[in-house]
C-alpha cells in the first residue's frame, strides 16, 4: 500500500495542561474527500492548526507527500501544496476580489525577479475563471471586505483553489452560509475534487453535508480519536451518537 498524501501519526498537543489532541492518528489518501467531525471543543481545529504548522506539536509525526512537516512553518507547508481555510473566514478586505485571487498564486518557486514582476494575463484569466466558478465573477472588482459573509467564504475557497494545492483543509465550509446555498457549495467542493484533483480534508458540523461529501470520516471527542470509517458506519456508531448527545 502506498503512503497517504497526509498522515498524522500519534499527534499530541497540550495547551498549558489541557490536552487538546491526544495521540491522534489520521490519514488522507490522495484524491479523497475525508471528513473530520466531533462536538465543540473536541480538538478539530487544533488538529488542523497542528497539521498546517500553526503551532509546534508535543508528540507524534505529520507527513505530507512523503515528507516530515511537523517542524516546518506555516508558509513553508503552504508552499508544499497544503492550504487551509479559516473557520472565521479570512480574506484581504481592502483589496478587490481579483487582486485577492492574483496574490493567491502558488509561491513555491519565487525568486527576486518574479517578486517584482507583473501578473501575466493567464493568471488574471485563471483568477476570473475561478471567480466565475464560485459565482463571484460580477463582483470581481469590488473590495473583498464589502462582500457578504457567505460571499467572502466563497472567495476564500476560490483563493485556496487559485493556490493549486494538492491538499485543501477546509474548516467548516458551510458554517454561516445560507442553507439554500449549501447544495451549490457542496457541488463545487465535489467538482474541485473531481475536476481539479484537489484532495479535501473537511471539518464540518453539518452532518448531512459531511455524510454526503466524504468517503471516510474521523470523529474526535475530548481530543481523542473516537471512531473512523465510512460515513454510514459512523452515522450508526453508538459512541459517536453518545459524544454528540453528551453522554460522555
Amino acid at each position: 500500500m502506498t503512503e497517504s498524501l497526509l498522515t498524522a501519526d500519534g499527534v499530541t498537543k497540550v495547551f498549558g495542561g489541557v490536552v487538546a489532541n491526544d495521540n491522534v492518528t489520521v490519514a488522507v489518501p490522495a484524491g479523497a474527500i475525508v471528513g473530520l467531525i466531533g462536538p465543540n471543543g473536541s480538538g478539530k481545529t487544533t488538529l488542523f492548526n497542528s497539521i498546517v504548522g500553526h503551532h509546534p506539536i508535543d508528540a507524534g509525526s505529520i507527513r505530507f507527500a512523503g515528507r516530515e512537516i511537523s517542524r516546518l512553518r506555516v508558509a513553508e507547508i503552504a508552499r508544499l501544496g497544503m492550504v487551509r481555510t479559516f473557520q472565521q473566514t479570512r480574506i484581504y478586505g481592502k483589496m478587490t476580489c481579483v487582486q485577492n485571487m492574483q496574490i493567491s498564486v502558488p509561491h513555491a518557486r519565487e525568486g527576486l525577479r518574479t517578486m517584482f514582476s507583473r501578473f501575466p494575463a493567464e493568471v488574471t484569466e485563471k483568477a476570473e475563471g475561478l471567480l466565475e466558478f464560485v459565482g463571484l465573477y460580477a463582483k470581481r472588482h469590488l473590495l473583498a471586505g464589502d462582500l457578504s459573509f457567505g460571499q467572502q467564504k466563497l472567495l476564500e475557497f476560490a483563493m485556496a483553489l487559485m493556490n493549486e494545492p494538492r491538499l485543501l483543509l477546509l474548516d467548516e465550509p458551510t458554517a454561516g452560509i445560507n442553507p439554500t446555498l449549501i447544495n451549490g457549495l457542496m457541488d463545487r467542493l465535489k467538482r474541485a475534487n473531481a475536476e481539479l484533483g484537489v484532495t479535501l480534508f473537511v471539518i464540518e458540523h453539518n452532518m448531512r453535508v459531511i455524510m454526503n461529501l466524504a468517503q471516510h470520516v474521523y470523529c474526535l471527542a475530548h481530543g481523542q480519536l473516537l471512531a473512523e470509517g465510512p460515513p454510514d458506519e459512523i452515522r450508526g456508531d453508538q459512541r459517536v451518537i453518545d459524544a454528540y448527545l453528551g453522554a460522555h
Binding site: G53, H54, H55, P56, R73, V74
Partner: protein, 299 residues
C-alpha cells in the same frame, strides 16, 4: 570602558550605583504600572505616558515655586493630572478606544507631541528641579552617599503602588476596572458602564504618572522633551514583566533603574539615553526570538 575597571577595583562604587538605581527604579515601576493598566483595560499603548510624568513634574515645580513644600506637589500633581487625563480621554481617547491600533497609537502619539510642545511654550526648554531640602545619608564610612529624597521617593512610590493594588482588589470601581480588562463585552452586559471605566482608567493612569513626575522633579530634573524616555521605560518594564504581573513590574522597574545607572557609568553619561532606547530594541527582538520557537510573534 575605563570606568569598568573602577568598578572592579572599588566594589563599593557598585553599591552606590545599585542603590541609586533601585531607588529611582521604583518611580519607573509606578509609571509602568499605569501603562499596564491602560494597556490591559483599553488595549491602548499610551505613548503620552512620559509627557504625563513630565507634566506632573511641572505641576510640583509650580507648587514649589509658589512657596509650598514640594511634597505637597505629589497629591496636587495626582489630582491635576487626573483632570488632564479626564479631559484628554473625553476629547480624544474616547473616540479611538474601540478602533484599530493604528489609529489609537497615532492618536496618543499626537497627544504626546502636543503636550511636549505646549510644555515647551509654557515652561520653556530650560531644565527645572524642585528642592526638597532634605540632606544626604552617608553609608559605608561615607563611601556611599544616598540623597534622602530618593529614599522618600522610593517609599512614596511603593506606598502609592500598594494603595492602588488595594483599590483595584477591594473597591467596587477597582473590580469594575478589572472585569472590563478581562472581558469588556461581558462586563457591559453585566451592567458595567465601560465608557466610564475607560475614562477613569485613563485618568487614573495620568494621575499615577503625575505623582511619579512629582517624585522625578524632586530627585532629578525635568525638561519638556525627555518624556519619551519614560514612555519607553514603562513599555520595556511591561513587556518584560507581562500584563497583570505586579511583582514583575516592580522587579523589572528596579532592575531597569539599576541597569541604567550601571550603563550610564560604564558607557559615559552621554550614552545613557542611547542605552535606554537601544535596550528597548534589544529587549523586543530578544522576546520575539524566544516566541519564534513556539511559532508566535509579539503583536
Amino acid at each position: 570602558m575605563d570606568n569598568l575597571q573602577i568598578l572592579v577595583a572599588a566594589p563599593v562604587f557598585s553599591v552606590q550605583l545599585l542603590i541609586d538605581g533601585i531607588l529611582v527604579g521604583a518611580v519607573f515601576a509606578l509609571a509602568a504600572y499605569g501603562m499596564a493598566l491602560v494597556w490591559g483595560v483599553m488595549n491602548i499603548i499610551n505613548i503620552a505616558q512620559g509627557e504625563f510624568v513630565i507634566l506632573g513634574g511641572y505641576v510640583t515645580w509650580a507648587v514649589a515655586q509658589a512657596g509650598f513644600h514640594p511634597f505637597l506637589g505629589v497629591p496636587v500633581s495626582f489630582i491635576a493630572l487626573f483632570a488632564v487625563g479626564w479631559i484628554l480621554y473625553r476629547a480624544v481617547v474616547a473616540r479611538v478606544v474601540d478602533r484599530d491600533l493604528f489609529i489609537s497609537i497615532l492618536a496618543t502619539f499626537g497627544i504626546s507631541i502636543l503636550m511636549q510642545q505646549v510644555m515647551n511654550q509654557v515652561f520653556t526648554a530650560d531644565v527645572q528641579t524642585a528642592q526638597s531640602g532634605l540632606g544626604t545619608l552617608f553609608l559605608f564610612e561615607g563611601q556611599v552617599t544616598v540623597a534622602q529624597i530618593k529614599i522618600v521617593a522610593f517609599v512614596f512610590a511603593l506606598a502609592l503602588g500598594g494603595a492602588l493594588v488595594v483599590f483595584m482588589r477591594r473597591s467596587r470601581l477597582g473590580k469594575a476596572i478589572r472585569a472590563t480588562a478581562q472581558n469588556a463585552r461581558a462586563a457591559r452586559i453585566l451592567g458595567v458602564d465601560t465608557g466610564r471605566v475607560y475614562a477613569i482608567t485613563y485618568s487614573l493612569n495620568a494621575a499615577i504618572c503625575g505623582a511619579a513626575g512629582a517624585l522625578v522633579v524632586m530627585i532629578w530634573v525635568i525638561q519638556p522633551f525627555i518624556g519619551l524616555a519614560y514612555t519607553v521605560r514603562s513599555f520595556m518594564i511591561v513587556v518584560v514583566a507581562g500584563l497583570g504581573n505586579l511583582a514583575g513590574v516592580v522587579a523589572a522597574g528596579l532592575g531597569l533603574g539599576a541597569a541604567e545607572n550601571f550603563a550610564g557609568f560604564i558607557l559615559g553619561a552621554e550614552f545613557q539615553t542611547a542605552f535606554i532606547f537601544s535596550l528597548l530594541v534589544v529587549i523586543l527582538l530578544g522576546r520575539n526570538l524566544r516566541l519564534r520557537r513556539q511559532r508566535r510573534v509579539l503583536r
